[in-house]
Amino acid sequence: MAKQMPKRNLEKVGLSVTGACVALVTLVVVALIFMVAQRGLSTFIKDGVNVAEFFTGTEWNLANTNEATGLPFTGALPLIVTSFAVTVISTIIAVPIAIGAAIFVVEIQPKFGQKYFQPLIELLVGIPSVVFGLIGFHVIVGAMRVIFNVDLGLGILPGSIVLALMILPTVTTLSIDALRAVPDGYRQGSLALGYTRWQTIWHVVLKSATPSLMTAVILGMTRAFGETLAVRMVIGGVEAMPEGLLDSASTITTTLTTSMAVYATGSVQNDVLWSLGLLLMGMSLIFIMIIHLIGAKGAKSRG
C-alpha cells in the first residue's frame, strides 16, 4: 500500500486546489464581463453610435446604412420594448397560476402536493425550451389565428404564453417553498384569533411569504427575459416596433441569434450586437440585485 500522505501536505494540497478553483472561476467571470463590456461599449466609443439613439431609436436595420450618419440603423427600442413586453406579460400570466397552485398544494392538500404535484412540476422544469417552442408554434400560434382571426398569429402574445408555460414550473416550485417556509405558528395564531382558513392564507401566509414570493417572481422574470429559442419560434422575427400583441416582433435575444453570424468581427453591426449582450447582462444584474435587496430587507425585518 502506498504511504499515506503526511497530514500537513494534504492541508497544503487541499488549500491550493480549492484556491485554484476559486481563482479560475473569478478569472472567467471577470474576463467575461470585461470582454462583453469592452466589445459592447466600443459601439459607442469607437464606432460613434449615439447612446441615446441606441436606447430610444425606433429603427433597427443592420443591413442598410443611414445616409445621415453613415452608420446602420441601430435604434434598439423596438427590441427592448418587445423583450420587456414578453417578460411582463408572461409574468402576469404565470404568477397568479403559480401562487394559486402553491396555495392549493401547501395549504389545502399537502398530501396530494407532495405525492403527485411536485414530481409533475419537477418533470416540467427539465423540458428543453425547444419543446415549448414547438408546442407554441403548432398549438398556441394556431389557437391565436382561430381565436383572434389573424393571418399569422405570431407576436408578443404567443411569445408571452410560451414563456409563461416555461417559467410556470420554476415560479410554482419556488412559491411552494416560500409558503412552506411560513412557520406553522403563524397559521395557528391566526386561526386561534378567529380568522378563517382563507383569511389566514390571505392576511398571514401570503403576507409573510411576500419577500420570498417576490424572489420567485423575479427569478421567473429573469428567465423569461433571457429565454431565446422558444420565443424565436413564435414571435415572428420582425425587427420593428410591434403595433400590437399579435404583430410580428423581435426581442433582444432573438435578434442576437439571428444576426450573430452575419457580420464580421469588428464591424459596427457586430459591435452593436455585443451592446445588446451587454444590455442583457446589465438587466440580469439588476434582477439579481433586486433579489438580494429583498433578501436583505427580509432578513433585517426578521431582525
Partner: protein, 278 residues
C-alpha cells in the same frame, strides 16, 4: 436584561396586593365544561371520555407525561382540532351551557371568546400595534381611536405597555422571547375572551420571563377561566386552583391543586409526582 428584571419585579409587587392563587377552588361558576369528550386522529384514539369543568376566576392546570393527550384535549376546547386533517372530536363541549361541538357552531366567532396561547411565542411578522389590532380588525372594528385604545388596554393588561409604548410601530420580532409571549397574551386579551387556553406557554422561556407570565396569569384570571397545560410541576402548583392529571389518553385524577400534589389518590399520579417517570 436588568430593565426587564426591574419591570418584572415591579409587576410582581403590584399583583401581590391582588389575589394570589392558593391551590384551592374559589368559584362555582362554570364557564366551560366537557362531557365524555373523545378525540381520534384517524384510527388512533388519543383521548378517552374526558369530562371536566372550568370555573370563572380559576386557573386549571393539565399535567401528565408527554403524549398523554393534554394538548389534544386543550385544542378540543376552542375547536382547533377541526383544523387538523383526520382529527375527530366526539362528546359535548359546553360553553356558557351551550354545546359548541356541533356542525353549525361558528368556530371563528367562538374563538373570540376562547383564546389560545401557544408554546412557542408566535407573534405575526408585523408591528407590535398590528399584532394587537389583527383580531379586532377581523371582527369588524375599524375606528382608529377604538383600535388605539384597545392596543393600550391590551398591552397594559399583559404588563407590556411600559416596555413597548414608545415602539408600537416596530416589528414584534425585535422583542425578547418573554415579551413576545406577553404580546401574544395581549393580542388574545384584545378580544376580551371568557376563556384563555395556554399550551406550555413558558417552556421556551427563561425563568424570569416564566415568572412574569405566571404572575400575569394571576392578574388576568379574575373575570375568566384559564386552562394551562404544563410540564412544570412547580408551575402547576404555583399558579393553579385545580389540576387534572392525564395518563395515556385518560383523565385519571382531578381535584384542587393542593390535594392533587399533597394527597394524590391514583398510583400513577403519585409515581408521576415522585418522578418515577416523566
Amino acid at each position: 436584561m436588568t430593565n426587564e428584571t426591574d419591570q418584572f419585579l415591579q409587576s410582581v409587587g403590584s399583583s401581590e396586593q391582588g389575589k394570589r392563587v392558593s391551590g384551592v377552588a374559589i368559584s362555582d361558576e362554570v364557564i366551560l365544561e366537557t362531557r365524555d369528550v373523545n378525540v381520534y386522529y384517524g384510527d388512533h384514539h388519543a383521548l378517552n371520555d374526558t369530562s371536566l369543568k372550568f370555573h370563572k376566576g380559576e386557573i386549571t392546570a393539565l399535567i401528565g407525561p408527554s403524549g398523554c393527550g393534554k394538548s389534544t384535549f386543550l385544542r378540543s376546547l376552542n375547536l382547533m382540532n377541526r383544523e387538523i386533517r383526520g382529527c375527530r372530536v366526539e362528546g359535548e363541549i359546553l360553553y356558557q351551557g351551550r354545546n359548541i361541538n356541533t356542525k353549525t357552531e361558528n368556530l371563528y366567532e367562538l374563538r373570540k371568546s376562547i383564546g389560545m396561547v401557544f408554546q412557542q411565542p408566535n407573534p405575526f411578522h408585523k408591528s407590535i400595534r398590528e399584532n394587537i389590532t389583527f383580531a379586532p380588525k377581523r371582527h369588524g372594528i375599524k375606528d382608529k381611536d377604538i383600535l388605539d385604545q384597545m392596543v393600550e388596554e391590551s398591552l397594559r393588561g399583559a404588563a407590556l405597555w411600559d416596555e413597548v409604548k414608545d415602539k408600537l410601530d416596530k416589528s414584534a420580532f425585535a422583542l425578547s422571547g418573554g415579551q413576545q409571549q406577553r404580546l401574544c397574551i395581549a393580542r388574545t386579551l384584545a378580544m376580551k375572551p371568557d376563556v384563555i387556553l395556554f399550551d406550555e406557554p413558558c417552556s421556551a422561556l427563561d425563568p424570569i420571563s416564566t415568572l412574569a407570565i405566571e404572575d400575569l396569569m394571576g392578574q388576568i384570571v379574575a373575570d375568566r377561566a384559564i386552562v394551562i397545560v404544563t410540564h412544570n410541576m412547580e408551575q402547576a402548583s404555583r399558579v393553579s386552583n385545580r389540576t387534572a392529571f392525564f395518563y395515556m389518553g385518560d383523565m385519571v385524577e382531578y381535584g384542587e391543586t393542593n390535594q392533587i400534589f399533597q394527597r394524590p389518590n391514583d398510583k400513577r399520579l403519585n409515581d408521576y409526582l415522585t418522578g418515577m417517570f416523566s
